[in-house]
Amino acid sequence: MSDHDVSIGDAEYAGTRVEQSNRQVADLANQEYKYGFVTDLEADTFEPGLNEDIVRRLSAIKGEPEWLCEWRLKAFRHWLELEEPDWANVSYPPIDFQALRYYSAPKRDKKKLNSLDEVDKEILETFEKLGIPLDEQKRLSGVAVDAVFDSVSVATTHSDILAKKGIIFCSFSEAVKDHPDLVKKYLGSVVPPSDNFYAALNSAVFSDGSFCFIPKGVKCPMDLSTYFRINAAETGQFERTLVVAEEGASVNYLEGCTAPQRDENQLHAAVVELVALDNATVRYSTVQNWYAGDVKGKGGIYNFVTKRGKCAGVNSHISWTQVETGSAITWKYPSCLLMGDNSVGEFYSVAVSNMRQQADTGTKMIHMGKNTKSTVISKTISAGEGNNSYRGQVQVMPKAENARNYTQCDSLLIGDQCGAHTFPYIEVRNNTSAVEHEASTSKISEDQLFYCKQRGIGPEDAISMVINGFCKEVFDHLPMEFAVEATKLLGVSLEGSVG
């Protein structure tokens, strides 16, 4: 740390009282998670446990080349030496990594699927039920989907149309087979296996995920999306997503997630890497709705994810938008490495913690190139006994002339048993740069709710209206389809919390 370090320190806000809403906060208990069903499927599943042999078997079952198996083993050996991080503002009992299963795939013939007709009916129905019809005819306007069920990608739609433009959009496993050079070139180039405990674990045992490559000069004609579904019990889900946009290319990428309602916690430790070369743009949107556990904090997903984008080229642009409503614990910091001159990084986030949910989320903006610019808009909503922390790092390196950052963190509290915390870390090592940080904490105002009610709007709709208004700056950055879903999700996950 140099002399120019600026540290704002921890600003902590305890829950504020909203007397009238206490009663309604208690009603949260009755909220339902409508994606909590389990699909009954025969699956190929590894026995619990993690060792070199498991890693080798995993690599073998996927028919991977030697180099990738070695890559995994190296990551695994590194992982063994790392300690599980404990700095996040979340608490949970220690995870027994030997009790987890590291592979689960719906049973089917080994041969590659040629069309959707060959996908198991149960799986198609599962995705239908989740509102993600994989049948291309049924899909709304152009969104291509890669559906990941437990450890494997089960279907990718629209690949043909995309292929005509030279766009590769397929499961990670297929990419390893069909485009090994691209995978080898970019895998781990943004998040190296040694990056952190969970990234190392993921690198060792990642099962599947999505791969997307947009060649030079191509604007992807439709939004691409991956839909993750955890189904099997006791299974960890470790997907890997890699998106590469070559010079002048651009793509919108969407990601959605759900999981069944189970009493035990499940681990989800994904890695997402984005690469944007000169003049390329990648917009990555997530609507995360993993099962959150019940009111008492039983069950739910541990969502420990490493997401990072590299603005490698000049004028490149990476934008993260996330709506985090699910998971028992969320621990994630989608970040941007702003290496290219004039590159732009953005982070727009809405994080909700209700019941006993804990979220420690934020971003890192690392300014390395000249005239790099970053914008961070974080909206956290805490209700019930939820605990929400924003943790954001802005770093301006010595060569980052004229770097600009604007950060705004707004917290909204509902009820008096929740908490919101802000942990900004700012490190500036170039004095031509400008870093701005604004933060606010408010409780949902009875005046606003009464105003809505006086106009005929019911209490539930009133709260959802005020909250949606609070989140607007973030929702504005979501693609239309997702924005509608996010609005509904917020309503569901905060149902009954005030009225």
Partner: protein, 251 residues
């Protein structure tokens, strides 16, 4: 349509309303005047169902229904509207979206079809022209960044869109410039009909030159202490409230 008997209400342990009696018939305009802090806004808030206020005694029926049993939103759907003395801001929600949601809630409760955004736009623009509000206001967040007078006009716009059976205007004239006052008053006058009642809370006679009331009440220390015709407002304008207070003391 509105019948209030011996209404007592308190807020945070302070007794504010001390036995209000008031009857409003369809088509009537009642003006309520009275010194600051006498309880005019409290009465408006209590009638529209703000549960920060506690009714400790008395009754109120509206269109034959026990008003005090209903939550605020149901009173609104039944046709009760209050233009707030201090309109509230709702960041991030556009005026148009807010009003469309409100109107559709009211329509639903009357088994009418909901208006889609296109139909609503048409209606909204017509009403905006009626109260001379720039159409650009439709897409601005509810009351956010509005000037004091603009907020008041926005309340009257909402009144015009929602077409309630009973409208309570809490100092809708304060903060308005002279032209705006006439526009707002004209808007209200256009809405007068034999079905719709108004309770107009104001401090100034000049509003009542435009919106001519059928009855004028003076509220003082939580009670209606004097009731008269429109001349009463003129008299108050000339003489202030002291003579009313004196009359009370000697009575």
């Amino acid at each position: 349509m509105l019948e209030i008997q011996n209404l007592h209400a308190s807020v945070e342990g302070n007794d504010i309303l001390q036995g209000i009696n008031l009857t409003v018939n369809p088509g009537e305009v009642h003006a309520i005047m009275g010194p600051n802090g006498s309880g005019k806004s409290t009465l408006a808030q209590v009638l529209s169902g703000n549960d920060a206020y506690e009714v400790t005694e008395g009754s109120a029926t509206f269109l034959g229904v026990d008003l005090l049993e209903l939550p605020a939103e149901e009173r609104a759907r039944l046709g009760m509207f209050m233009a707030f003395q201090y309109p509230v801001e709702i960041p991030g929600i556009s005026n148009a979206y807010f009003l469309q949601a409100a109107l559709n809630e009211i329509r639903k409760s009357h088994d009418l079809e909901e208006l889609d955004s296109l139909e609503f736009r048409g209606l909204l623009q017509e009403k905006m022209d009626l109260v001379a509000i720039d159409r650009a206001f439709a897409d601005r967040p509810v009351n956010q960044g509005f000037s004091g007078g603009e907020k008041k006009r926005n309340e009257v716009l909402q009144l015009a869109v929602l077409e309630p059976r009973l409208a309570i205007l809490d100092e809708s004239d304060s903060g308005l410039d002279i032209d705006a006052l006439r526009i707002v008053a004209d808007g209200v006058n256009k809405m007068r009909n034999k079905e719709r009642g108004f309770i107009v809370v104001t401090h100034y006679q000049r509003l009542l030159n435009h919106i001519v009331p059928d009855v004028v009440h003076v509220l003082y220390k939580g009670r209606i202490v004097k009731t008269g015709g429109k001349e009463l407002a003129l008299e108050l304008e000339k003489k202030g409230y002291d003579w009313v207070k004196e009359e009370l003391a000697t009575a």
